[in-house]
Amino acid sequence: MINLRYSILKYVMFIIVTFYAGMSIAADDPINVSVDRTWGLLLGDEVNVKIDLTTLEQGIDQSSLPLEDKRYGTWLYLKTIDRTMSDLVFHYQIINVPQKNTMIEIPIFDVKLSNEQWITLPSTTITIGPSLAVAEGIENITAKPDMKPTLISTDDSVKRIQFLVFVAIVSGLILVLWHFGWKAKNRQPFAQAVHDLSRLKFHTVTSDQAARILHTAFNHTAGTVVAYGELDTLLKQRPWLLPLQADITLFYTQSEQHFFARNVQQGPDIDSVRKLAKACRVKEMLA
């Protein structure tokens, strides 16, 4: 019986000792702090202090972190704090330096854990110093001059305009080639007709010339000479001209009366010929 009690007591003691030993190890786990540069730091330099939170079992209450964009102490200005689950990075800037190299301590902050417990974030030291030599007195030091004004960059605007001009030229060229063809011999019949009629705008032109140009276009389209009586054949061969049947018939009627009738009558007028040529060209282009 005594042996049994002794054994139980021994196990209980063992459990208690193990538990407290574990607790003390956890409590003594240090929070690791590191700095990207610890010495040779000058006025205006930025220092990043990284605090490793992986040893903490509880997360940090973000609202308990120190205020950003604020001066802390004599030397440092806290610009921002980067927060992640595993670490905090304090971005400081050195805004004041002593007259000789000095070791200073990073500000110490108390922060709250998610279990409402407060802990003190560890600190570390860095060495800051002056960059100006003042042995001969500050009277000999001249301040740096004002910054000179700089011109507004026009590179982007020029590039944009160049790009737009390129797009406009390429698109316009495609349109021109579409309408008139690459070379005269490659042009489609009505494209050639429109081209010839537009050139005639600048010269004295008779309605006869205009009508002949359009007749030539119809002949090339049919692959043979198209007479008034053969219009149906042409329209069967080139059905895309059907929507213009009435205008084409009128043109051929007027043309026949002008060129072949005994009593010569007024031929088709130049404007109507141009209009018909353009209409035919549109159909030809989309055929």
Binding site: G44, E105, P107, I152
Partner: protein
């Protein structure tokens, strides 16, 4: 197929028209920019200062050269509204220089000197916060700190979360001490 051709044709026409309009707009903007640049470089003398912040900065630079620090301070304070961080930092730096030069022109016993150095330090620090690679700002800030040091032995290594700005926070105007 016809519909597709129609669509492609009008698309090309639309591209040409839109491009030509955009060329016109961009060309006009470029012409305006070149006018401002002519003012900045001093090729054009004009009483009317363009509203562009760089033109204001340029005029402030000339004001300092012509010994008109108050006008320069006013213009540089206007420039601080810019979204261009480099220009903002330059405006802070030049403002700091105006304060520093005014303070250096005073005798050591003049009480306004400390206040002006404080303003200069604040401007240089703001410039460095925006652009820490401004070496001239570092240099002049250190010079200002040599003229009026901020070291206080009690504050070293004992910040413990209780920060406070030592410098005077007034910006853009002179503070004349009684």
């Amino acid at each position: 197929m016809n519909k597709l051709f129609h669509l492609a044709h009008w698309l090309l026409v639309a591209i040409v028209v839109i491009s030509v309009i955009a060329i016109g707009q961009a060309g006009y903007a470029l012409w305006q920019t070149n006018k401002v640049n002519a003012f900045i470089s001093g090729d054009v003398k004009s009483e009317l200062v363009p509203e562009h912040f760089k033109a204001q900065f340029s005029q402030a630079f000339r004001d300092v050269e012509q010994d008109k620090p108050d006008s320069a301070l006013e213009r540089l304070t206007t420039v601080l509204e810019t979204d261009d961080l480099d220009l903002e930092a330059a405006a802070f730096y030049n403002r700091g220089n105006i304060h520093l030069h005014e303070a250096q022109a005073m005798t050591a016993s003049d009480t306004a000197r400390i206040s002006l150095i404080g303003l200069a330090k604040q401007d240089y620090r703001d410039a460095l916060l925006l652009n820490s690679s401004l070496w001239d700002a570092r240099f002049n800030l250190e010079l200002a700190l040599l003229i009026v040091p901020e070291e206080s032995p009690g504050s070293i290594a004992s910040a413990k979360g209780k920060g406070s700005r030592v410098v005077i926070k007034a910006l853009g105007f002179r503070v004349d001490l009684p």
